[in-house]
C-alpha cells in the first residue's frame, strides 16, 4: 500500500516534469513548427500518463499542458491572454481531447489491472485447492487449508471447528503464530453464535458481532472490541451445518480486502466439504464395526442354538423322563439315563468354559499369569486330564533338553489340550496323534501336534483360527464343534508373544494336519 502511495505521487511528478520537458523541447522547435502543432507533443504525454498512472495525473498533465501552451507559445507570449479567437478553439479542443483520451486510456488500464488481479486470485484459489487435494493424509487436509489461508490473508491464526448434531463444537485445527489453547473457549462460544444465526460474523455485520460477543459473555471493548474479533464463518455442507471457521484479524490490522474475503469464503466451502467427508467416513467405520459385531452375534447365536441347545435338550428330556410320575425304569436304564445327563452336562461345561475363556482373553481380562513352566510337566498334566481312551492315542516325544519358559501354566495347558482334542476329534479312532516338544530355533519352545487324518483344506490355514470358523466339511458333519478352540489357542499364544500356525504333512509322508506353536522364553 505504501508502495502504491508513492507510485501515485510519482504519477503527478512525472506528469509535471513531462509537460515541462515537452515545453522545453517545443521551445527549441518553434522556428520550424506551427504553434498549433504543440498539441502533438502534449497529447502523447497525457495518454502515457493516463496509461501509466491513471486518470488523475493525466488530467493534471492536460491542464498543465494547456497552461504551458497558452503561456509560452500563444501570442502574446508569457501571459495567459490569448490574442486570436482561433487559438482558443485549438486550446479547448486540445483540452477536451486530452481529457477524453485520458479517461479512455485510464479505463483500459483499470480493466487490465482488474483482469490481472482476477487472474492472480484464480491462480491462488487453484493452487490452494490443488495443494489441498494433493494432501494424502486426511487429517492433514484442514491444517493445510488453514495454512494456505494464513499465508494468503496475512492472518495470525486460523481455527476450524466441527459441529456435532447436538450443536456442540470441537476444535479440529488451530494454526498460525497466534494459536494458543488459552482462548479456545472464547472462539468456540463465538463460533456457536455464528452457527446459531447461520451468518458470517466480522465481515460487514457489526450488529451480529456485538450480539455474539454479548452472548459469549464478553465486553465489546477491550481485546475483543472493534474489528479485532476477526471473522467467524459458519460452514455448510449438503444443507447441514457441519462446523465453523475462525480467522483472526490481519497481522497489519487492516481490514480484509474483497479479494481476501472471496478467498476466505471459497476455502471455507472447501473446509465444509472436508469436515462433512470426515464425518461420513467416521460414520461408515462405525457402521462397519456394527456390521462386524452383528455378524459375530449371528454366528454366536447359531453356535449357542446348536452347541448349547442340543445337550440341554438331551438333559431336559432325560431328566424329565426320569421324573415322570408312574414311570418304571429298570435300574440299568436309570443309570444309563443319569450317565447321559452327566455326559451332556460335561459337554455344555466345555462349550461355556471355552466361550468364557475366549471372551476373557479377548477383552484383556485374562492376562497370562506368567511363572516358570516346564512344558513336559504341562504335557503330563494335560494327558492326565484327557479321557484315558483319548490319552492312549497320544504319542509323546520330548526333546532331552527343553528350556524352562515363563508362561501361564493353565493357559498353555489349555492350548495343548485344545490342539490334542481337535486332533483326536477330527481323525479316526485308533489313529495316533503325535505330540512333540522341542527347543525352538529362535529360543523358547516349539510344540507340534500332528494327526493322521485327512489334513486341512488348502488355503484354510488362517481361517481355522477365526472365531466360530469350522472347517468346510465339518459344518454339517457329525462331529460337534464350536469353532472356539483354535481361536482360543491363538489368543493365548499371541498373549504370550508367540505364534501358532497350521499346515499339512509333507507329500512324501502319511497325510495329516500339523498344528504348531512357538512360545518365547518370556522374560
Amino acid at each position: 500500500m505504501i508502495f502504491s502511495e508513492s507510485r501515485k505521487l510519482s504519477g503527478w511528478v512525472f506528469s509535471a516534469l513531462g509537460v515541462l520537458l515537452a515545453t522545453v523541447v517545443f521551445s527549441f522547435c518553434r522556428h520550424f513548427l506551427d504553434k498549433g502543432q504543440a498539441s502533438l507533443l502534449y497529447l502523447p504525454l497525457v495518454i502515457a500518463c493516463a496509461i501509466r498512472f491513471g486518470f488523475g495525473p493525466a488530467v493534471f498533465g492536460a491542464v498543465l499542458s494547456f497552461l504551458c501552451w497558452d503561456f509560452f507559445f500563444l501570442p502574446p507570449y508569457h501571459t495567459f491572454i490569448v490574442r486570436y479567437d482561433t487559438d482558443w478553439i485549438s486550446l479547448f479542443v486540445f483540452l477536451t481531447a486530452a481529457v477524453m483520451t485520458a479517461q479512455l486510456a485510464s479505463r483500459a488500464r483499470n480493466d487490465a489491472e482488474q483482469a490481472r488481479a482476477r487472474r492472480d486470485e484464480i491462480l491462488m484459489l487453484f493452487e490452494a485447492s490443488e495443494s489441498i487435494s494433493q494432501t494424502v493424509q486426511a487429517d492433514m487436509l484442514l491444517p493445510e487449508l488453514a495454512d494456505r489461508l494464513l499465508d494468503q490473508c496475512q492472518s495470525s491464526r486460523c481455527v476450524i471447528l466441527s459441529r456435532s448434531a447436538t450443536g456442540s463444537m470441537t476444535i479440529l485445527t488451530d494454526r498460525g503464530p497466534g494459536a494458543s489453547p488459552e482462548d479456545q473457549q472464547t472462539i468456540v462460544s463465538i463460533a456457536m453464535v455464528a452457527c446459531e444465526y447461520g451468518q458470517v460474523i466480522g465481515i460487514g455485520s457489526s450488529v451480529l458481532w456485538r450480539k455474539a460477543l454479548a452472548e459469549a459473555g464478553l465486553k465489546t471493548e477491550g481485546q475483543y472490541g472493534g474489528n479485532s474479533i476477526g471473522i467467524y464463518i459458519p460452514l455448510h455442507a449438503e444443507e447441514s451445518l457441519v462446523g465453523a471457521m475462525h480467522l483472526a484479524p490481519r497481522m497489519d490490522n487492516r481490514p480484509y480486502s474483497t479479494t481476501n474475503e472471496r478467498l476466505i469464503r471459497t476455502l471455507a466451502n472447501h473446509a465444509a466439504v472436508v469436515i462433512a467427508r470426515q464425518t461420513l467416513a467416521k460414520t461408515a467405520a462405525q457402521i462397519a464395526a456394527l456390521k462386524e459385531a452383528d455378524l459375530l452375534k449371528d454366528s454366536l447365536l447359531s453356535l449357542v442354538s446348536h452347541e448349547l441347545r442340543s445337550p440341554l435338550a438331551a438333559i431336559k428330556a432325560t431328566a424329565s423322563g426320569l421324573l415322570q410320575p408312574g414311570a418304571v425304569w429298570p435300574e440299568s436304564a436309570t443309570r444309563e439315563a443319569l450317565a447321559a445327563i452327566d455326559k451332556e452336562a460335561d459337554r455344555m461345561t466345555g462349550v461355556v468354559t471355552n466361550l468364557l475363556d475366549l471372551s476373557r482373553l479377548e477383552a484383556g481380562a485374562w492376562k497370562p499369569d506368567k511363572d516358570w513352566c516346564e512344558v513336559s510337566d504341562v504335557v503330563g498334566t494335560v494327558l492326565d486330564r484327557l479321557p484315558p481312551n483319548d490319552a492312549a492315542r497320544v504319542r509323546v516325544s520330548l526333546a532331552d533338553e527343553t528350556p524352562l519358559i515363563k508362561a501361564d501354566y493353565i493357559q498353555i495347558a489349555l492350548t495343548i489340550t485344545n490342539l490334542l482334542e481337535n486332533a483326536i476329534k477330527y481323525t479316526d479312532d485308533g489313529t495316533p496323534v503325535d505330540l512333540s516338544i522341542e527347543p525352538a530355533n529362535e529360543g523358547g519352545i516349539k510344540v507340534i501336534v500332528r494327526d493322521y487324518g485327512k489334513g486341512i483344506q488348502p488355503g484354510e490355514g488362517e481361517a481355522l483360527f477365526q472365531r466360530f470358523y469350522r472347517g468346510a466339511e465339518h459344518k454339517s458333519g457329525t462331529v460337534h464343534g464350536t469353532g472356539i478352540g483354535l481361536a482360543l489357542c491363538q489368543a493365548i499364544v499371541r498373549a504370550h508373544g508367540g505364534r501358532i500356525w497350521a499346515s499339512n504333512a509333507s507329500t512324501n509322508e502319511h497325510p495329516g494336519a500339523i498344528f504348531s506353536f512357538v512360545l518365547p522364553i518370556g522374560l
Binding site: 452327566d342 452336562a345 461345561t349 468354559t353 468364557l356 475363556d357 476373557r360 485374562w366 499369569d369 511363572d371 516358570w372 513352566c373 516346564e374 513336559s376 510337566d377 504341562v378 504335557v379 503330563g380 498334566t381 494327558l383 492326565d384 509323546v396 520330548l398 524352562l404 501361564d408 501354566y409 493353565i410 495347558a413
Partner: protein, 235 residues
Amino acid sequence: MRQNENAVVLIVDDEPEILRALRAGLAAQGYQILAATTGEDALSIAGARSPDLVILDVMLPGAIDGIEVCRRLRQWSDLPIIMLSALGHERQKVAALDIGADDYLTKPFGMSELTARVRAALRRNRSRPASNDLPIAHFDNVTIDFARRIVTRGDEEIRLTPYEYEILRFLAQNADRVITHRLLLGEVWGPEYVEDTQTLRVHIGHLRRKIESDPARPSLIVTEPGVGYRLKSTE
C-alpha cells in the same frame, strides 16, 4: 463307608442349588450335613457344632468371604477345609491354600471327585497325629525311610540331593494335600525364597526323573496347574 457315619460336614455356599446337590450327594454317602449360606453363619455354626470337615465356597456374599472364613477357622482349628471356586478365581484359590486350606475343587465338578477329596481329607486328618512319627511311608513302589533319610524305588536306593529329599519329605508328610509353591519354597528353602519358582521347577523336574516310572507322565508328584503340587498316595 462305615467310617463316614459319624463324620459331620459343613457346606458353605450361597447358591441354594449347589447346596442342595452337595447335601444330597454327601448325605447319600453317609455323612451328616450342616449348611450355611454366609461367612458369618459358617463361623458361628463351625464354632457351635465343631464339624469334622468344611466345604467352603471362595466367593460368599457379605463382609466375610470364603478366604476370610478360612483364615479365621485356621486361628483355632486344624479341621480339613476344601475350597470350591469358579473358573477364573485362581488367585483366590492359591490365597486360600496359602493360609491353610487343604484342597480345592473348581466348579463345575463331579460328585465322585468331591467325595474322593472329602474321604482323603478326613483320612489324612485322622492319621495326622501319627504320620509325623511314622518312620516309613510307601507311595506306589517308592519307600521313604524318614529316620534314616533313605528313599528306595523297588529294591534300588535312590540318591537324592538334600533339597530333593526335603521336597519329597514335605510332600509325603502332607500326602494328597495340595501344597502351594509358596508353602513348599518356604518350608524347604526358607521364607525369603517363597517367590523363587524357577528353582522349584528345576528341582521338581530332577526329583521326578529319579522317582517316577514315567517322568513325562508323573503319577506320584502331580502338578496342580497354577497352584502347586500334590503327592498322590495310592488309595
